[in-house]
């Protein structure tokens, strides 16, 4: 009986570990091995000067023209 309980416990732990491993895909995918290429739309665009220039939107100037003197 004791051996049965132990076996069940080990199976339960192994199952839990495999579930964690499967559901943590986002973290695993975001932490590539050394040398592995990071593939995401973030990297694709933010390492491409031409795409960034094409898609850039001019920000509104938030500085007041009434400001004078040194800060």
């Amino acid at each position: 009986m004791k051996r049965l309980v132990m076996t069940f416990a080990v199976i339960l732990v192994l199952f839990a570990l495999s579930v964690i491993g499967c559901t943590n895909k986002e973290l695993a995918g975001a932490t590539p091995e050394p040398g592995e290429e990071v593939v995401s739309t973030c990297v694709t665009c933010h390492t491409d000067k031409d795409i960034l220039q094409e898609t850039a939107t001019v920000e509104e100037e938030a500085k007041s023209e009434a400001t004078t003197g040194e800060g």
Binding site: C42, H46, E59, S64
Partner: protein, 360 residues
């Protein structure tokens, strides 16, 4: 800096670095699987410093969180010292929110990008720089006084010898100090990690042989009294909201002056009787836009403050001879140098006894 340039990760090596391997989304949010720019940036965190850096850099992040760079308590203490009410919802609290909070510094604004005050932008691709850039980080905020002094940008005033002779950058002297000391302070001079001249020039204190000036004055004059030159003083700062609803400030043109006064921070750490004083931009009406009499005890704190100008020279006009200083009242902050409405506030730092002429 162009808009696209601010977010251009030009150094591919970053992606293989410790921070790069973490992936973009974990720190910045957004959705890396979306191709549409708007959807990819939904929920984007531009500066993810808060709450992320302390995962690995706990000690530094905790120290930074209570440092002046994070708390801005220097502003608060200056207002409170003058009787200002900065409790939540008060007019001064609103003024602080509108005009002071922009100086808040996060980890990323020193180690990754330019500060918000300069509208951000990555400094070296996305590389995490252990040592911030002097030009794009330190001087970006500390430029008009310290930066200009140090680099010699004030017409007719030489640059600091630490720059001209040794090309030292800010962090060569100011290292741990920039993350605070682990204790809350109200002024940079309370920081126990603050840079001191003797950190490098210990020999000046241990061996005064052949240098009668040092022998005579090490204990009663701060180093800058003999070794700095004219520096920038600012007056009459007023803050307001302009017609378009944007915070603005105005101040009078700055003035290059050199003023020796009594030490307002005299302690065992800084025992000097005389120090160099700098006029801070504030005046009794600085916050008048937000209400009347918001600083009811304006005279409780001086407007000429303990200063450490960053234009150090070996030879200066005041140290060329004993009489250059002992025979001169020009170098000292006197009643005549103080605006009428500020005489009371500065009564403790105004010099009323001048050094006797040598030989008398």
């Amino acid at each position: 800096m162009e808009v696209w340039e601010k977010v251009f990760v030009k150094d591919g090596d970053f992606l293989q670095s410790t921070h790069g391997k973490v992936g973009c989304v974990i720190c910045h949010g957004g959705n890396s699987q979306e191709e549409d720019k708007g959807l990819a940036h939904a929920g984007l965190i531009i500066d993810p410093s808060d709450g992320n850096c302390n995962t690995c850099h706990q000690d530094l992040a905790q120290s930074h969180d209570i440092s002046l760079h994070a708390t801005l308590s220097g502003f608060e203490s200056a207002l409170e010292a003058r009787g200002g009410d900065i409790s939540e919802g008060s007019p001064l609290a609103t003024a602080m929110e509108n005009h002071c909070q922009e100086c808040h510094t996060t980890c990323g604004q020193c180690h990754v990008s330019r500060p918000d005050e300069l509208e951000g932008g990555l400094v070296s691709g996305h590389k995490f720089r252990e040592t911030p850039s002097m030009q794009y980080n330190c001087i970006a905020c500390h430029g008009s006084r310290v930066g200009d002094e140090y680099l010699g940008a004030n017409e007719g005033i030489p640059a600091d010898v630490h720059w001209t002779q040794a090309t030292m950058i800010c962090t060569d002297c100011h290292s741990q100090e920039l993350h605070g000391s682990g204790e809350e302070t109200e002024s940079r001079y309370q920081n126990s990690n603050a840079a001191k001249c003797e950190d490098c020039h210990e020999d000046v204190w241990t061996n005064t042989e052949g240098n009668p000036q040092h022998e005579q004055h090490l204990g009663d004059l701060s180093c800058q009294v003999c070794h700095s030159v004219e520096y920038k003083n600012c007056y009459g700062c007023h803050v307001a909201i302009d017609v378009e609803g944007i915070p603005c400030r105005t101040s009078e043109p700055s003035v290059m002056q050199f003023e020796i006064g009594y030490n307002p921070l005299r302690s065992s750490e800084r025992p000097y009787k005389y120090v160099v004083l700098r006029h801070v931009p504030t005046c009794s009406g600085t916050c008048d836009f937000y209400g009347d009499e918001l600083l009811p005890n304006f005279n409780a704190a001086s407007t000429w403050k303990y200063a450490t100008p960053h234009n150090i020279q070996l030879h200066t006009p005041q140290n060329e001879s004993c009489d250059a200083c002992h025979d001169s009242t020009e170098l000292f902050l006197t009643e005549e140098d103080i605006r009428a409405e500020e005489k009371e506030a500065n009564k403790d730092v105004i010099v009323d006894e001048f050094p006797e002429t040598v030989g008398k």
